[in-house]
């Protein structure tokens, strides 16, 4: 698997103070694969996601995305800021609270990565940014500021901003958890579209029905360890572990995705 995998995580450890949040995690994501990370809060799934683009620096183990890999732990040097930045430019991340730049218009938000990080000419970056905004159905919101958008629209702009870096991998950190229920569908639709285009993705989510539809693999975490892992449908429909069963019993596991008004 390591031959073809896009993301490879080995023996990953992370503690915050005396609290060990990740204990010896291994994870492979195939090129074009979609992995859903589920689990109760405090299980370490968001920390694991943030270790993939090194927003959180692990204490031990190794992280590889594409051709770039980093090892952590005793005797290894922490990567310098330049190589970290270069590494992160190849992965896109979408946050629970959007984290749009409030002092920039929607268009400027999406152009920011290409202009500042990729040193793209403004005109080219604008063309790219408009295309990405159109892709998430928000072309006509280009000149508005984030404060004037709904939560769902903000999150779609955040996705466009990440896509404008033309990343190989997209990471979603509870992208729909802060949204009103009626706005969840429009964001999930965009993610589903990305999946169908073959984007490699890791998705931390509480939308079990969505994970079942979109993810090909599912990982259930609890207390910093992977409890169960397998094909998404199989794990959701027939969980092998008691802990997975107990967690999944809180959710509707099947059914249609929430209705989307992607053009709103």
């Amino acid at each position: 698997m390591s031959e073809t995998s896009k993301i490879e995580i080995r023996a990953l450890r992370k503690s915050f103070g005396s609290n060990e949040v990740l204990k010896n995690i291994n994870l492979d994501v195939a090129k074009g694969g979609v992995v859903a990370l589920i689990g109760p809060s405090g299980s370490g799934k968001s920390t694991l996601l943030r270790c993939i683009n090194l927003l959180v620096v692990p204490d031990g183990g190794s992280v590889r995305v594409g051709d770039i890999s980093f090892a952590f732990g005793d005797g290894t040097k922490l990567p310098d800021v330049k190589s970290l930045a270069k590494f992160r430019a190849t992965t896109g991340m979408v946050f629970q609270h959007f984290n749009l730049f409030p002092h920039m218009t929607t268009l400027q938000n999406v152009m920011e990565g290409p202009v500042t990080v990729r040193r793209m000419a403004k005109a080219d970056a604008e063309k790219l940014a408009r295309a990405q905004l159109a892709k998430v159905g928000l072309a006509e919101k280009a000149d508005q500021y984030p404060a004037t958008l709904s939560g769902g629209q903000k999150q779609r702009v955040a996705i466009a901003r990440a896509l404008a870096m033309e990343p190989d991998v997209m990471l979603f950190d509870e992208a729909t958890s802060a949204l009103d229920p009626e706005l969840v569908g429009e964001v999930l639709n965009v993610i589903q579209q990305l999946a169908s285009e073959g984007m490699t993705m890791v998705i931390v989510t509480h939308e079990i029905a969505f994970a079942r539809e979109v993810a090909d693999r599912l990982i259930f975490m609890r207390d910093g360890v992977v409890v169960e892992e397998g094909p998404a449908r199989q794990v959701i429909d027939n969980p092998g572990e008691a802990a997975t069963r107990a967690f999944l019993s809180h959710f509707h596991r099947t059914g249609a995705l929430p209705p989307a008004n992607a053009t709103s």
Binding site: A85, E112, G113, T116, V117, M165
Partner: protein, 220 residues
Amino acid sequence: MYQWDFGILWSYRWLFLNGLGVTVGFTVVIVLLGLVFGLFGAFGSLSRFQPVRLVALAFIEAFRCTPILVQLIWFYYALPILAGVEMTPITASALALSLYGGSFYSEIIRGGIVSIDKGQSEAGAALGMTPGQSMRRIVLPQAIKRMIPALMNQSIIQFKNTSLVSVLAVPDLVYQSQVAAHDSYRPLETYTAVAVAYAAILIPLTIIVRRGEKHLAVSE
């Protein structure tokens, strides 16, 4: 009953204007220099390197927690003996006031930077920005907006603090009015006029600051 006679001050008008010019010019210099010290203090206190942080914090606390009058006198009389350099009263007081103002500016700038949600710099980092790029492009533009009213307030205080340089015989508005008061035997009129002069400059400035604060409250 005291007989007020402000007319007598007219013959000292050039002295007052001269003093006012020195006061305003001095304020401009110590505000600009103070902002430079403030930037160093703020970024120093936010540094990843502990020694840098400690130096910055020592600077900030040393100047925030001692009286400016003591600093002025110390810079003029004590520092030359310790460092072996002669300083004119103007240099000594400019340095003392800039460092004093800088220690307060440091805290304002630092506070503005840390008030920006951590998610903003994380979003910058996730796009592949270096910490410097995300500071310049993402954090500072938002933080500066929040700092401006407090920086203006501190600068107004700095304007008033320049009145202390008269103890080192720097010919500012207060020093020149002392000369005028002694010469005319009219200290009541003289110091009243000086108070009015300070207020006439500062009241419009405070109104501008207050407007700025309101504008800020609306835009957030």
